[in-house]
Assembly symmetry: C2
Amino acid sequence: VLLPDGLVTPCLVVDLDAMDANLAAMAAAARERGLALRPHAKTHKSPEIARRQLAAGAVGLTVATVAEAEVFVGAGCADVFVAYPLWVDAARGARLHALRERASLRVGVDSAEGAAALARHAGRDLEVLVEIDSGHHRTGVAPADAGEVARAAAGAGLRVVGVFTFPGHGYAPGAAAHAAADEAAALAAAARTLAHAGIPASVRSGGSTPTAALTTGGTVTELRPGVYVFGDAQQLELGSCPTSALALVAAGTVVARSPGRVVLDAGSKVLGADRPAWATGFGRLPGNPDARVTALSEHHATVEWPGPDDPPDRGTVIAVAPNHVCAAVNLADTLTVVRMGEIVDIWPVSARGANT
Amino acid sequence: VLLPDGLVTPCLVVDLDAMDANLAAMAAAARERGLALRPHAKTHKSPEIARRQLAAGAVGLTVATVAEAEVFVGAGCADVFVAYPLWVDAARGARLHALRERASLRVGVDSAEGAAALARHAGRDLEVLVEIDSGHHRTGVAPADAGEVARAAAGAGLRVVGVFTFPGHGYAPGAAAHAAADEAAALAAAARTLAHAGIPASVRSGGSTPTAALTTGGTVTELRPGVYVFGDAQQLELGSCPTSALALVAAGTVVARSPGRVVLDAGSKVLGADRPAWATGFGRLPGNPDARVTALSEHHATVEWPGPDDPPDRGTVIAVAPNHVCAAVNLADTLTVVRMGEIVDIWPVSARGANT
């Protein structure tokens, strides 16, 4: 990401060419393997990027919340999957009802109680996918229990079209291959229990950015990666995104400087505070692979700057890839879009904070 | 915090009585010790709360950015200190110029270069405080170097009125007393070097929520705590905020449940992802002191629920104190204000995202 002059820091900068290359590469990879691509829009929260994903061949979007679905359906996306075991009361049900009139909508379920509440408040015949735990141990049922949940959902009047999982345990060094194998095995086992219950699982949806390249067609029918749009320091350190593919950085100004160290004005309120135990810091500097963001407070990023060269002067603007780009984007109102170092657009992060 | 019925989760809920009690207690503690109170508004980012702090006796506000100063001056606050070593170019200087016409403004400096840029672009006679490193090792100069920076700032045409520090190394179990002592020693030493340079440091500003109760008057003249308004899980675990003083929680709904465990819909996009090494999890549950938030993703908080009782049913709304309330507030557009379990107001987080 070549930063333009005159940025008001801190801010998030998107390299349009790098992003478009990422969109095209994932679309091609999915197409070649016969997988439907349904990118997770929680990463970018931006209708402009969603339109580009759909134009590149995505079959629809994935979102995490009803509020995100409202933003993207409102922006013209006609096919949305809420990949979350929503708890639906009358108020949320009314919002889902309204969405169903405007778009093709699918929702996750992982319990008989959740399915009953969904059917009651969001209406019968809503399409649902049963969430499976493939090893991340967050939400979702064991594959062996998927048939029972599917039967309960169908009994409540919902239309069960398949199963989905998030192989989040692939977010650790060296873990992606194992997680991708777990994903395929869990989706296959769950689909068998649905078949046993007389419910065909025609959609078997998985995928994450670290595992996407390892997912083959056949068992899995649909991929839902999110982060691949931009990449981030986590993906860099996991080996699933080369530095050249980083399409979003925070631009921060050097405000303090001492031997071997600078402090930037892009802190946790810009980068986000995510830091998995295996990460080497709170972000990475594409321009200096040896630098490490060793401390982060709300408006300060402390960067250790090793090597023979003096660290940059106060006032220098530096690019930092956040650890977790979804968190960084959700802190910004806009993305500054650049091409070959020139600002070409400003995109609103329309679904920022759309958590309900 | 007694949660009202009918909340649309996830959301942030402020208990008005608990918050007002926190404001009154800190104001009284400062008054009794002869300390000026200048609360850090980055915690709440809300003009309504700033007005209450000023009404309770605060002399003005502290902010971290020019954009925050713009919001609070725009809302009528006449006295603002930007406690940050700003790097000021022409554009930021013009914004500071505009602020000076509307309010009493002070800015931090910690280098001769920074002071020169500030004087050049924001105008002569601007009041500044020299930032001192009292042990947190973020920004700020060693006390021994403060006189030199002050002389450079004065030489550039700025009005040096004192010194300030943030004893952030008090954010660890058992560290507050030591950090408060470091703070007083550093401010005293820095003030001596300014005196030696012929520049009286009439303002000696310090303070943080963990150390505030340990700061005595004399050396220190001004306190800048932020988090005390609400408290949070960090302060709870540091011993600087009893559960009864927690005035802000995230309300999350149980969306999944298994023996000894629930998953709530309030994830890192609501609570923030801050987790110091000494924290027991990603937040605390005021209603269940034994529960721990053991995993957090964007829309999921995994809560281990020990003890003989079954965890609450799906659909139950539960209060979670975030680890770091400043980060949580900066993710929200509004705060739902309650009193004895009834919603009495909705406050905008006007300075959310005001990072520039």
